[in-house]
């Protein structure tokens, strides 16, 4: 392990290689792609939350001058009702296909029904309005508790609950039910002196990336489809598009454009297969870009949830039992992140008895998709609120309570895995010692809250190739789309191994034809796993250079001398030497120049599937002030402490934390899908779906605790997701200290807080 290692590149703060192009407007994002003769498309979307589609008449649209093609679900091949692993976990192909273009039913307001390609977007919009759809409007159901009731409208005819792995026979909106158990909660509650049980509700929220979804596709005369798109994973788009379109993966090339934010929301395909169908019909490239309304009504979101949590503690502050029942909205098709929610809810702690039941419930809302630590933020809002109540009622400092119950290496999570070396307690101690926590908060209507959070992070698969240039610089080809500076954090790891300056590594994000399989930029995996691949590929370069130098030096040596092997060649600080001959020395640059005379070009390559994923923990401190007249909550000060393993690029790590905190604050205070009775969303714009602006926040202090992950050569842990987990609970606990009222619903908007204060 590398704790004491002095790094040359790692831990510095260089400017990212794509920086200049991104501050000058030169970088090409998905919506900036243009092709000769390109057509523009528009999607017709359901105005109803739940309706049977009786007929679709496209004739008037097709007759409009400038319209080149119209497609509906009839243009897609019949999708099998089977589960496939498409890089985002298991996906039912029929559901995926039906989400791209509705087949028999529209299952949510905004569900894609048909699409048009025309000479420009205005004609396409006019044409979409000429498509006549006959609907049989059905009653809709919008929340998990309602959808679980007897007699609730059923979304999927014939769908029954899979409970604890067994198929049941009753038709239901509950797609599945799981249970995690550790110890015996009933026994645990018997030991408790204080038991707190609460019900929590959290609203549906959106990822809110600023760049709308987009796709440009060209289906050429040989049946090959090329797709330009802003995506978190080119290979996922390739695989999902090939499945939906019913063509081999080799017939789909995906070229990832720069991506304007994703947060999990740019993993599934929405527009890509539709653009491809329109291109096949027209023989032209077709571009589709969503409007902001379409973004809210048809993509994302992350689930609203009903959380019932019961926890028991002894008088001296030991939590002895914790039980949770989590019901998450999946949206129109199964697949909410209720599983990850259950994996994370109690995992900062070593409670001896735990049980979690999770329910994945379909409702008439857009199919939910990942959003930064998906499921964990909902879950932590409940458990971290009850931890705060224990602290208050038992007269224990809330951070000390976390010290007393905190998880350490060797403790088991409720879902089975045992924690490896983790840094949760280190984050709590750093918070305890922080000046923020030790500065009294003064003034009326003010309160300080703390909360912790866990996200397990993922590894998955990555590929990297490093090509050595003759001047001693290298090009690095990787497949992880860069959403926040990962070109830099990956290149830095290669530069560290190669002993060359950061500026000598030129990273490029390649498409599906240009690099080996690489999973999504998500799960906080990119700097960890693709960085690992860069480390291995750089070592592959060094190994090849050592072999060549051993051979070269042998050729120079007099006959009879013992032959050198690669093991005899050392490499340090950018210079090769020989352990058996101190006089030999060749720099990386000299070796690069020698390539044509030592066997030709050198490319290092690595494909990895690293297993040593290090989980991430965070502990946050927030000060709020609550306006007693309006209930509006202002954030006065925020400090986020996080175990980051090893910060490759500290500024970019801080940025991940600050961004995660801000999204969490938005989730806590303002953001929510608001629905009318008929199932239509009433706030599908950035004006009415109120995300934090810079006027809503103070500076966000970060503390990077570095407990190296033993599963990564530099100790890296994923950092991107866990910072969104504690904020809603931390803010709720702060509001409690300010008002004396416990918050059980998200968002804690002014009206809600005021109601609580006046109750």
């Amino acid at each position: 392990m590398a704790e004491a290692t002095a790094y040359q590149v790692i831990g510095t703060r260089p400017v990212r290689p794509d920086g200049a192009d991104k501050v000058t407007g030169r970088a090409i994002y998905g919506a900036d792609v243009r092709m000769a003769g390109m057509l523009h498309g528009k999607v017709l979307r359901s105005p109803h939350a739940h309706a049977r589609i009786k007929s679709i008449d496209t004739s008037k649209a097709e007759a409009l001058p400038g319209v080149k093609a119209v497609v509906t679900h009839k243009d897609l091949p019949e999708a099998p009702d089977k589960i496939a692993n498409l890089g985002e976990g298991a996906v039912n192909l029929k559901f995926l296909s039906n989400n791209v273009l509705a087949q028999e039913k529209a299952l949510y307001r905004g569900h894609a029904i048909a699409a048009v390609a025309a000479v420009n977007v205005h004609v396409a919009e006019e044409a979409v309005n000429l498509i006549e759809v006959e609907y049989d409007i059905l009653p809709s159901v919008l929340t998990a508790p309602e959808a679980m009731e007897d007699g609730a409208p059923i979304l999927h005819d014939g769908m029954t609950t899979t409970s604890l792995g067994e198929k049941t026979d009753r038709e239901s909106n509950v797609a599945s039910h799981y249970r995690f158990t550790l110890g015996d909660v009933a026994e645990g509650f018997k030991q408790a002196d204080l038991i707190i049980e609460r019900e929590f509700d959290t609203a549906t929220v959106h990822q809110g990336y600023i760049e709308p979804h987009n796709a440009t596709a060209m289906w050429n005369e040989e049946g090959h489809v090329t797709i330009w798109t802003s995506t978190q994973g080119a290979f996922v788009v390739q695989k999902q598009s090939s499945e939906v379109l019913g063509i081999p993966v080799s017939q789909v090339s995906v070229i990832p454009a720069e991506i304007g934010g994703g947060f999990g929301g740019k993993i599934p395909v929405y527009l890509e297969p539709v653009a491809a169908l329109l291109s096949r019909k027209t023989g032209q490239a077709v571009k589709l870009v969503m409007s902001r309304t379409e973004e809210f009504e048809s993509t994302g979101p992350t689930p609203g949830s009903r959380l019932n949590v019961k926890m028991g503690a002894t008088k001296d502050g030991r939590v002895v039992a914790a039980e949770a029942s989590l019901a998450f909205e999946a949206g129109a098709f199964p697949g909410s992140p209720v599983g990850p929610g259950g994996m994370c809810i109690f995992s900062p702690y070593s409670f001896p008895n735990m049980q979690v039941d999770g329910y994945d419930v379909v409702v008439n809302k857009p199919k939910t998709t990942a959003y930064r630590a998906p499921g964990a933020t909902n879950a932590a809002f409940a458990s971290e609120t009850i931890m705060d109540e224990f602290a208050e009622q038992l007269g224990i400092d809330p951070l000390q309570l976390r010290v007393m119950n905190g998880a350490k290496e060797g403790d088991r999570r409720v879902d089975g895995p045992t924690h490896p070396r983790i840094g949760f307690l280190e984050t709590v101690h750093a918070a305890l010692e922080h000046e923020h926590y030790n500065t009294p908060l003064e003034g009326p209507n003010r309160g300080r809250g703390v909360a912790s959070g866990f996200w397990f992070n993922v590894g998955l698969q990555s590929s990297v190739v490093i090509n050595v240039n003759s001047d001693g610089t290298v090009s690095l080809v990787e497949g992880s789309t860069d959403i926040g500076g990962t070109r830099a954090s990956i290149a830095m790891q290669a530069a560290e191994v190669l002993g060359i300056p950061y500026e000598s590594v030129r990273p490029t994000v390649a498409g599906t034809d240009g690099v080996g399989y690489t999973d999504v930029t998500g799960g906080s995996r990119t700097t960890f796993a693709t960085g690992y691949a860069a480390y291995e590929a750089a070592n592959d370069v060094v190994r090849q250079m050592k072999e060549r130098l051993a051979e070269r030096w042998n050729a120079e040596t007099e006959e009879g001398a013992t032959a050198l092997t690669a093991e005899d060649v050392t490499y340090s600080g950018g210079v090769f030497g020989c352990s058996k001959d101190a006089g030999k020395s060749v720099s990386f640059q000299e070796m690069a120049e020698l390539m044509p005379r030592t066997g030709g070009p050198i490319s290092g390559r690595a494909t990895v599937q690293p297993r040593g994923v290090g989980g991430a923990f965070a502990t946050h401190i927030v000060d709020v002030e609550v306006d007693p007249d309006t209930g509006k909550v202002s954030i006065l000060r925020y400090t986020a402490v996080q175990d980051v393993g090893k910060a490759i690029h500290p500024s970019y790590v801080e940025g991940q934390i600050q961004g995660g905190v801000t999204q969490g604050v938005g989730w806590a205070l303002n953001e929510a899908y608001l629905y009318r009775e008929d199932g239509n969303m009433s706030n599908a714009s950035f004006l009415d779906y109120r995300m934090p602006t810079c006027l809503d926040l103070p500076m966000i202090d970060t503390v990077l605790v570095e407990v190296p992950n033993p599963g990564h050569p530099f100790g890296v842990r994923g950092v991107g997701e866990v910072p969104i987990v504690p904020p809603p609970a931390a803010v709720a606990n702060a509001i409690y200290r300010a008002t004396g009222q416990r918050m059980t619903d998200l968002p804690m908007s002014p009206g809600y807080v005021l109601d609580k204060m006046q109750s």
């Binding site: 000058t24 994002y29 600023i210 934010g261 905190v661 810079c694 006027l695």
Partner: protein, 160 residues
């Protein structure tokens, strides 16, 4: 289709003329017809600020300006900010402070900050936050953006 409108304007200091439909926004003409895709589209209804640019020195959301309106006016976009030799101080400071992650909101933020510093060369943190509240960023939490703007103001003031 209605008769197309002939517009003569100055784009980043160069005379430019184009034909547009009455319904086309300045943002659409810049991006789709003139190929100036540095100005970004995030919402098309004036709520996110990604399409911020200046018309005759005034900061606008170009999605809310009709292309026909800029006849005879000077349009300045992100593409015109850097000189051939070097980035504008705002651009440089955004890079140094890691004030962008995905970068989609960055051109809008930089153009909005430029307009601020022209009006108020020495803004306080609160003034920066107030002025930039019309621009949404979902990645950074704004901390590093505000620092970059404050630092750029100082740099520009020192070299002025």
């Amino acid at each position: 289709m209605a008769t197309r409108i002939h517009v003569q304007t100055t784009l980043n200091g160069e005379a430019v003329e184009f034909l547009c439909d009455s319904r086309q926004s300045l943002l659409e003409v810049l991006r789709d017809d003139l190929g100036f895709t540095g100005t970004k589209e995030g919402c098309s209804n004036g709520n996110c600020g990604a399409c911020s640019l200046q018309v005759d020195g005034v900061l606008v959301d170009s999605c809310l300006v009709l292309a026909a309106e800029v006849d005879g006016q000077a349009v300045n976009t992100i593409e015109g900010l850097a000189s051939p030799a070097q980035l504008h101080p705002l651009q440089q400071k955004f890079l140094e402070h890691a004030a962008l992650q995905c970068g989609i909101c960055t051109p809008g933020f930089i153009m909005a900050a430029k307009a601020l510093l022209e009006k108020n060369p020495k803004p306080t943190e609160h003034e920066v936050r107030y002025w930039l509240a019309g621009n949404l960023c979902r990645c950074t939490g704004y901390d590093k953006i505000v620092r970059a703007v404050l630092d750029a103001a100082e740099t520009m003031e020192a070299s002025a």
